[in-house]
Structure formats: C-alpha cells, structure tokens
Symmetry: C2
Subunit: 555 residues, 2 copies
C-alpha cells in the first residue's frame, strides 16, 4: 500500500501546485500587515493613510494639513476619513496607489520616506471590502482636475477596480480617502489612533493635524514649525555596507566602461584615494568592464571596501527631526526636569543603506508612563519609538529600539531600576530603508549595526542624564548632612560654653566654618569620584559594546 501512495506522490504534488497573488497572500495573512486586533487594526489604518499624506506633502514641498475623522457607524463598525492638502494622485495612479499591492514610487529609491513597500494603504482597501463589502471612496485634486471615484481590489489578479468615477466642479487640491471597516474598535488608549497622532505631531512639528474622534471631540495638533523639511536627495549606496550581490547587480546596470569609473560613479564617498587603496588590494585589473565582474572579483572589491576608511555616509537622503525640534516638542509635552537630546552622525548598515539615530532622554516632570500601583500612582519607563518620524506603537518586544534600551546597564548612569524610573526615552531611527520585521512595519530588526548605533546614542545621552541625576542625589545628601550639622551646632555650642566658658557667638561661627569646610572637601571628593566614574563608564561602554555584540550573535 505504501508503494502505491508513494508512486503517485510526486506526480500528485506536481498537479496540486498553484501560484497565488501577493494580494491573496496578504488577504489571507492580514495579520502580517498589522491588521489584527480590533484597536490595533484601526490604529494601523490611520497610520497607513497619514504616513502616505505626510510623504506626499513633503515630496512636493507642501506644509501638511491633514484632517482625520473617525465615525462610529455601528457596533465595531467605523468610517475613517483622511484628507490632505498634498499633490493628489492622477487618474492613472490612484488605482495602483490604493488598489494594487507592491506598486509605488518608494521601493527602489535610496531616500528616506515613511512608506516603502507600496502595500499598506492597498491593504486597508482590502480590509474594507473584506469586512463591509463596500469600496473605498476617493477624491483627488491634482490642480488640473478634481475627480471622485470608488475603488476595490481584485485579489486574484492583484488589480484595482474603479467605479463611479465623476468629475467634480469644486476647488480641491490634495487627496481624501474615506473607508469603512467592521470588526475594529476605537479606544483612547496607549495604542489608539489619538496617541498615534499625538506622537506623529511630536516627530513632525511642520505638520498640522486635525482630529475628530467618534464622540465628536475635536483636537488640533498645531504646527510649531513653518518649514517643510528639505526634500531628501536620493543617494548612492555607501561602500561600507554593500554586499557582493548588490555590487554585481549595480554593475549590470552601470553605463561605465571600467570597474574604476563604475565604483566612482555608483557609490557614495568614493574618492581617488579610496580607489588607489582598493586597486592595491584586489587581484584583477580594475580597467575591466564592470559587466564582466565575476563573483570572486566582486567579493575582492567588497573585502577591500571593508579595509578602506571611507567618510561616513552623507546625510543628504536622511531627514531626522533635529535636536532643536525634538527638544521643543518634548519640553512642551513632557515638561521634564532634565532633558538631553542627541542626533548622531549617519551610519550605514548591511546593504549600504545609510541610517541615523536620534535619542532623547527626559527625566522627571511628566516623563515616564503613569500607572496606578498599590501605593497610588507610580512611574514606569516610557519608550517612544519612531521610524522615519512615524510612531511605532506595537510589537515593542521585537524591536531593535526596545532591545537596545534594555541592553544598557542604566545603573552606570545612576538609574537604579530603569523600568520604574520617571524616564521617557525617545528614539527616532531614520534610514533610506528601514529593516522592518514584518510588513506591518511596527518593529525594526535587530541587525548588528543598528543595535550598536542605538546603544551608543543611548549611552552618550545616558551619561549626561546620569550626571544630572547623580548631581541631584549628591546635592540632596549634602543638604541632609548640612541640616544635620546645623541642627547640632547650638547643642555643641551650649555644651562647650558650659565646659570652657568660651563665647557662644564665637563658638557658633567657628563651628559653622568647620562644617562648611568639611562639606567643600566632600564636594571636591565627589568631583574626583565622578571623574573616575566617567572614565570607568567610557571603558565600560567599550565592554558593553562587545557584550551587546555577543548577545546579538545569539539571535
């Protein structure tokens, strides 16, 4: 019997072999798009539309004005409307942008944007039709004309279906999308749409966002900066992170006739000096046609890259929030007692993708999450994660940012228990390509270079925070001591007076002078100790770096 079944095995399997479209794939696996959980789904929908609006406005140098409305139509049944003042979408593009997966402008481009795959908003269209049977409604004004239309996706073919297209005679420039969803839920919680928009406003001070929640409450996140971030420039890959495969792919598309000119033209930061160094390290003639590069030769080039001291990648493609803006945002929202903000220089991770890390540590004031504990309200560590200025509210445990925060030995920075400290850590990771762990775009993969750079930024800022906290602690201790000393001075004066008969006022003066001197001496010791600690911390950082790397290897 076994034999009979075996006999038809491979043939049978061959007959059953089918291909399916990427739309069918994500329709069946909508949780991979973050479209699961009632509250999470609704936040994800808002996220997809708002990031698209911000991207479109910034690309065309428009100060974003975004209206978000959420209406409750029934039990777990909502309508989401997002309207922007961006460039709009042409008739030819609107279907692909909102009704075809893996179509978009951002995939191959080497510059920072919030969207990158061309999946998110088409996924929302799919969820809308899956849960309500209804198309989404779109109004687009490109400056030439204004049209309204309805849109669904044919998942079998991954193609948009447009219906009810009409010209509209009113003035409108931008894009408005309106879609209905069932099985979702609005909550004003840490992971709800309102918190999402609040954090979007923190990271995008140039955007104005109006929000109307299902209860009709209106909220305005006002623009605090009247300047669109300069449009990032597309850059060439940085040689440091380039893989052999990418080098060969690039060489195939190059117009250069020689490997030398190919390297100069197609890579960032490739100067004549670098070329000379590489020349000495490879064992083939660099005047060769790049299209003829073998894998082995390309590998020699990549190995040589690793030994050249290239300048850090240019930041042309990157648009961090900027220290001043992060500072303003956090000061007004968190009102911390102490705040330190740091924007590091651009780095590069595997693939030659430039990236940059911004970190802010807020301490005291309203910093930290407030939870109610057995003894009243307590503070907990709050981590605000951003990727290309878009807030990440889910999948925290899987994210390089969270892992980096928890890998730091905060005791070094005078924070005994970081989880219970009144601290808000903000990390914004910007890159021309974010290595998300899932198409739902909520967690950054913990690639070696990524974790290490976030750790360095945290340690650098942590030290500053630590100095403040340690200083505060010492000041408090000194104050206690001083109070104690002063408290006993009158008693000691009285005792000495009755023993020796010396003048009370003189005794008091002398004793006070002694106390002051004693305290000054201790202060000097403190500074010395502090310096020693800093030196130790620097060293420890190096050790920590190694430890972090080791931990990473185990993933």
């Amino acid at each position: 019997m076994d034999e009979a079944i075996k006999e038809i095995g491979a043939e049978q399997i061959s007959k059953e072999f089918k291909e399916h479209s990427v739309a069918e794939f994500f329709k069946k696996n909508k949780q991979m798009l973050g479209l699961y959980g009632k509250v999470r789904s609704l936040t994800t929908i808002v996220h997809e539309y708002v990031t698209n609006s911000l991207d479109a406005c910034e690309e065309t140098n428009i100060l974003p004005d975004i209206d978000v409305k959420i209406d409750e139509l029934g039990r777990e049944y909502y309508e989401v409307t997002v309207k922007d003042n961006g460039p709009g979408l042409t008739e030819e593009t609107v279907g692909k942008a909102l009704g075809k997966l893996l179509a978009g402008t951002k995939f191959h481009r080497m510059m920072q944007s919030r969207g990158q795959q061309g999946i998110g908003s088409s996924g929302c269209t799919m969820l809308s039709q899956m849960t309500t049977g209804k198309p989404i409604k779109v109004i687009t004004g490109t400056g030439k004309n204004v049209i309204s239309l309805e849109l669904t996706i044919d998942p079998k073919r991954n193609e948009p279906k447009i219906s009810n297209k009409k010209d509209i005679a009113k003035e409108f420039r931008g894009l408005a999308v309106q879609a209905k969803f069932k099985g979702v839920l609005y909550r004003d919680s840490e992971q709800g749409p309102l918190e999402y928009l609040r954090r979007t406003a923190i990271a995008n001070p140039h955007a104005q966002i109006n929000f109307r929640d299902p209860a009709g409450q209106k909220l305005k996140f006002k623009r605090t900066l009247n300047k669109v971030p300069e449009r990032p420039k597309e850059v060439k890959p940085h040689p440091k992170g380039v893989t052999v495969d990418e080098l060969i792919t690039l060489s195939k598309y190059s117009d250069s006739k020689k490997v030398i000119s190919f390297l100069k033209n197609d890579f960032d930061r490739m100067g004549q000096k670098s070329i000379e160094t590489i020349k000495k390290k490879v064992e083939f003639d660099m005047n060769k046609d790049p299209k003829q590069l073998t894998w082995d030769e390309a590998e020699q080039v990549v190995t040589a890259f690793k030994e050249v001291d290239f300048i850090s990648p240019s930041g042309d493609a990157l648009r961090p929030i900027g220290q001043a803006h992060v500072e303003n945002s956090l000061k007004s929202i968190v009102e911390p007692e102490f705040l330190t903000v740091l924007t590091r220089k651009p780095q590069v991770y595997s693939g030659g993708f430039p990236f940059q890390v911004e970190v802010a540590i807020s301490y005291g004031g309203k910093a930290g999450r407030t939870v109610s504990g057995p003894e009243g309200n307590e503070k907990r560590l709050e981590i605000m994660r951003f990727a290309n200025r878009a807030p990440l509210l889910f999948d925290a445990g899987n994210c390089a940012i969270t892992k980096a925060v928890h890998s730091i030995d905060w005791k070094r920075y005078d924070i005994k228990d970081i989880d219970r400290a009144p601290v808000t850590v903000l990390v914004n990771f910007v890159s021309v390509h974010i290595p998300y762990t899932s198409a739902g775009k909520q967690a950054i993969a913990d690639e070696d270079e990524v974790i290490e750079e976030i750790r360095l930024a945290l340690m650098q800022s942590g030290r500053k925070a630590g100095n403040y906290i340690a200083g505060k602690r010492r000041e408090k201790e000194k104050q206690l001591k001083r109070e104690l000393f002063y408290k006993y001075i009158p008693e000691v004066v009285a005792a000495l007076n009755s023993l020796t008969g010396a003048n009370k006022a003189d005794l008091k003066k002398k004793l006070e002078k002694m106390v002051l001197e004693k305290l000054r001496l201790e202060e000097a010791e403190d500074v010395e100790e502090l310096n020693g600690k800093e030196a130790k911390a620097e060293k420890g950082e190096e050790d920590g770096k190694k430890a972090g790397k080791k931990a990473e290897d185990n993933n």
Copy 2:
C-alpha cells in the same frame, strides 16, 4: 515656487510609479522571512527545509528519515544539506517549489501542514545566491527517475532558473537540498539548529532525524513511534468563524443552485436543523441562487450562524501530537516530578479555520531553564512553543502563546513566581491556517479566540499542577507539625507522669492518638479549603477570561 513644484507633483509621482515582484520585495526585506541575525538565519534555513521534508513525507504516508548536515566552509560561511526519504519533486515542480515565491500546494488547502505560503525555501535559495553568488544543488528521486540540478531565482521576474540538469543512475527516493550561505553562524545555543531539531523530535515522535554539526559531532534523534500520523483530511470551513466576504467568495465558486444546498455542501457541521434555524432568522428566500447573494443577505446568514449552536469543528483536518506522545516525549527529556498533558477539542477562529490547542505543564525534575544566578544555578520558566508541530524559537514576546502564559494568574495554582519556577510549559497550536505575525513564521497573532483557547487550556492544566504543588506543600507542612508533636510527647509524658503518677505507656498511647486525630481533622479542613479554592478558581477563571478579553481589545 511652491506652485511650480505642486504643479508637477501628481504627474511626477505618476511617472515614478513602479511595480515590483514579490521576490524583489522579500529580497530587500529578508528580515521579514526571519533571515536576519547570524544564528537566527541559520536556524531559519534548517527550519524551512526540515518542515518541507516532514510535510512531504507525511502527505505520502512515509515515516520520515531526515539527514541534516551543517559544514563550516569559512568564516561565517556554511553549507547546509538536508536529505529526506519523501516522495521527491518532479522536474516540473522542483523549480517552483524552491525557486518561486508564493507557489505551492498548501495555500488554499483547508488542512494542517507546517508550510503554508510557498515562500520559505525559495527565500533560502534567494539568501544563498545573495550571499555566495552560488546556486543551490538539488537531487530529486521520484521513483521514476533521479535527477540532479542547480537552481537560482530571477528576483525581477520571481522565476526559477535551472542549470546543470543531469540524470543520475543511482537509486534514490526523496529530496536532497544543498545550499551555501555567508553571514551566518552556527551556535549550540537556545536558538540554534540543534535545539530546533531537538524540539522537532519532541513534537514529531514518528520522525527520525540525524544531525551532523560543523564540528563533525553526530546526533541521532531516534523515532519512538512507528506510525505516520494519518494524513489530515481537507475540511470545509466551519460556519462559526466565517466572514461575510468569505461566504460570498465561496458562493461564487459553488455549483449549488440554491442557498440552502450551498450552505449544506460547502460548510462543516451544517445539518438540517441548523438550516431550519437559519431560515427563520434571515429575511430573504433561501431558495435563491447563491451567486446572486447580496452583501446584506450574506451578512444576515453570517449573523444567523452566530446564533446557531453548531457542533465543534471536526478534527479531521488537524493532527495534534496527542496526549500519550507528548507525555512520552516530556517524560524522557524533562523527567519531571509532575506532568499534566491536555489536548483540547477543536475550536474555530475568524475565517472559519479550525484549530486545536495542546498544553503540557511539567514541574520539578529537569523542568525549566537552568541559568546561573548569584547563588548558583537557578531555575526559570521555560516555554516551548509549537505551531503545527514545528518549534517556534524566535519572537517570543510577540506570540499569542507567550502572551497567554503571562496573562494567567499562576498564584491561583500555588505557583508564586512563575518566571522563577522549575516549570516547562509546552503549547502546540495546530490549525489549517496559522495566523503568523510575519512571513518568518515565528509568532502567532493574538486573535481573541486564539488567546482565549490557549488560556483555557493553561488554566485547566494549571489547576492540576496546582493541586499537586499545593498537596506537596501541605504534606510538607503536616510532616513538620507531626515531627514537632512527636518530639514533645516524651517530655509531656514524663511531666504528666511525675504530676499524676499515671502509667507512662498509657499516657504515650493516648497522646499519640490525640495527635493523630488532630492531624486528621486538619486534613479534613484542608480538603474543605481546597474545594472552596477550586470553586473560587473556576469563578476566577471566568473573571480572568473577561479580563483577558479586555486586555486583548486593547491590542
């Protein structure tokens, strides 16, 4: 100036609009396939090949014999070879199976298998060529012929490229895949290939797995069960979880002429009685052509489904490990002091997908993870997660199983601090479609029904474990008390004897009787208290269920 930029906005965006293939997408986002982190990548590769081998063998009723070899070829450079005795792949299929994403036999099928998307092993082919420039090598023997070939993917077109195809004159039945990878690392760690295979053996006692690690060490995971699990049967969707969208899709493909016969033919557990109930609840004629069903009518049917008391889904499509086999595996590996195993009845989650949960709680013995603490070795909670019998080693924090375990109030079951208890919790989640959070297939999305069912299974088993642990604690306390009482009897006897002159032997006998009676009385009280506690726990479970649900809503 703004206007000029705006003017070209929509047009420019339209011109830049591009489509890209799913292979390009996953090539650029390989972290979404779990192919990131040096150790993780290597484990993921082994996972993809081994699950494919197990699936192929089981489908054709072959007892799996799988050889896995990992050779170190250089620094972070390895070759992985996986050979099985399955049905092999025909010439027509081999390219699609290993060199085209979203192609396979498993996507639309309503039955349990490890693979489900047709992405994993093609992703490995892509990683191999991306990191080494080399094709993978394949030998396939289908019973008719044996051929060897080399294979790569053209990512632009998502199509396989086969080269070097040769007929081989030797006897071989099965599939052997050999692929080289750079940038990966072998580690004998909690997340390494060896641990992966060890857990595979636990959940698949019918499989024999031979492993040779890079150091040349050989390990054999012997088969302990000489029977292939019966091939699961394809089932129809269960009405309980079916969505309106799916009902309409199914109705389009149905051959039935009336809605009544469509429902009877295309759904699991749909008897005449259910049909009658549904008939009364909908407001249209169920003799209607199913192809003409409107969204509104389909919604009425789905709403009616929710009110009918359908029998639980059939387990025909599901193949849990089974209580006896889980017990055997854990007894031999964990050697626990106490073990409880539970296989729950099949349930259904959104989409009509049947699923089933198996849970085992081991206490004492070698249960739990051993970590070295400040006071020597300490025990920590160990959670072994499986999906369709495949081990899940990564992304634990994001997984419904981990979330369910941590949502339980273990104190109710006499486990004070579950994180530091000598406990191994095993959860195997089997389904015709696992709702993974990412294509890397390492975490199960926390859908309401999924979390709730895992929680129920854990509470049911937790109660048994709790009884044992509480019993042990009480026994220990009683023993202490008994010893104390007996210790003082001779003294009391002596005292009484000297006071009253009564016979010492008599006094001793009487006192001993008193002690025994006292202890018996306490025992009765214990039992009473225990019963009370259990009743409370039952109630608490209901409360907990609600709490769990509430927490879930916030996700």
